[in-house]
């Protein structure tokens, strides 16, 4: 039985930034302190608009997030950012460089920026990114913006975990077929053409509209992902983008999709937790021998894989843990 360090949760609830920063390390490392605090604080979350920002490496995600901070601060909102960069598969080390584009907010107590290494978790996120976002949400930041690792478009976990996903595209990344992989319409609630200060952006915008026209038409009352062009570098198009995000939020609420998405997200998180608890058990030393025995009996045809799995699940859930 573990309890949170005395006062840490209370300090976080009271808005103390040092305690929040410390707690996020516990959450990131999934320590007993972090687990207990997460259980305690999770009920306070669910208010913030969770915005995912994804797109190719170097597409201007961080620069755009910096402009989103500016816009939301101008509206008086407290903004939190979780920015994920990749870990090296060889050394496990990481260079987290997103913050470099957001240095200007250092004196603003209503902006909180946290960098995370992906730690080889797939999909452009770290395993505990969403848990970190929930804590920031519970602490009263709204919106909470998650910048993913710069990805190709096939591994984008964020679309299933955020309320509004901005899919960034940039001109000049190859021919249009390459850029406009099928599926981008499913990933992005809003298609952002950044670096629109470049002349080639016109072609990309045209291709995006073309792709949308070819795609199956969205159902009546459904969401039609808008194409919004921005120049994060020049701070242009940001108001349109904020407006599109607000429109998407309003649609989520009026269509009933918000409750639906919150349920989907919760379901994904529960499933992910079950997977990680399983992995934690299987990799633990006490379980190693037990697991090997189960596997041996399956290999020897004494029990079927299905039977072994249900025995293991029973073991996993029985002891008070």
């Amino acid at each position: 039985m573990t309890t949170s360090k005395p006062g840490l949760v209370a300090q976080v609830r009271a808005g103390r930034i040092p305690a929040l920063a410390r707690l996020l390390t516990h959450i990131e490392n999934d320590t007993p302190v972090g687990r207990a605090a997460f259980d305690a604080l999770y009920p306070d979350s669910g208010e913030a608009h969770l915005i995912g920002v994804t797109g190719p490496p170097g597409g201007g995600k961080s620069t755009l997030v910096n402009e989103l901070i500016r816009a939301y601060r101008a509206r008086g909102q407290r903004v939190a950012v979780v920015a994920v960069d990749p870990s090296s598969p060889l050394t496990g080390g990481a260079t987290l460089g997103d913050r470099i584009r957001m240095n200007e907010w250092h004196a603003d107590p209503d902006v909180f920026i946290r960098s995370m290494a992906s730690r080889r978790f797939g999909g452009g996120l770290a395993e505990n990114t969403l848990a970190v976002a929930h804590i920031l949400d519970a602490t009263g930041f709204d919106p909470v913006i998650v910048e993913t690792v710069g990805t190709g478009q096939d591994e984008v976990e964020i679309a299933r975990l955020a309320l509004t996903t901005l899919l960034i595209q940039v001109p000049g990344l190859g021919d249009s077929i390459q850029t406009l992989k099928a599926g981008s319409l499913e990933i992005g609630d809003i298609l952002v053409v950044n670096k629109a200060d470049r002349p080639e952006a016109i072609g990309l915008i045209r291709d995006l509209h073309h792709m949308k026209a070819l795609a199956e038409s969205h159902p009546e009352g459904g969401w039609d992902p808008p194409v919004v062009k921005t120049s994060a570098l020049k701070g242009e198009g940001i108001d349109n983008l904020i407006h599109a995000i607000a429109k998407h939020r309003a649609w989520l609420e009026s269509s009933g999709e918000l409750a639906e998405r919150l349920r989907t997200i919760a379901g994904e998180e529960v499933a992910a937790r079950v997977r990680s608890e399983w992995r934690r058990w299987a990799e633990g030393s006490e379980a190693g021998a037990e697991l090997a025995a189960f596997i041996g009996r399956v290999a020897d045809r004494e029990v079927s894989p299905r039977q072994a799995a249900s025995d293991i699940l029973e073991q996993l859930t029985k002891p008070a843990r």
């Binding site: 410390r22 390390t25 320590t31 302190v33 496990g92 260079t95 987290l96 250092h106 946290r114």
Partner: protein, 141 residues
Amino acid sequence: MTDRPAGHPIRILVAKPGLDGHDRGAKVMARAFRDAGFEVIYTGLFQTPEMIASAALQEDVDVIGLSILSGAHMTLFPAIMDALKAVGRDDALVIAGGTIPATDQPAIKALGVAEVFGPGTRLQDAIEFVRAHAPVREDTA
């Protein structure tokens, strides 16, 4: 000092304070720490003491690596250490690299900078120093 638990990589802020535009040293430092398996928050050039303190606070780093080339180190270091204290992050291990003359090093260490890696030191020494001295903060486990 207790051992660092598995699954708790060292988090280190690498910053380049001062007004000169040379970040080569900071980048080399950041890359070496990354290759050593650390998680490096790299904030780049022209970092004011307040920016460094704010990043150290929000990122909850264990270690702060400062790369300093300009001759302004004797004013920068006191300001940075004061800013860290102001946000309660004077518990972080602070190390410095760059062109800091040996004669100034005692004064800098007296401010609470744990080690100075001047010209001619090997990056490996800095890595080993960080591994040996990165604080395992009491409630980390």
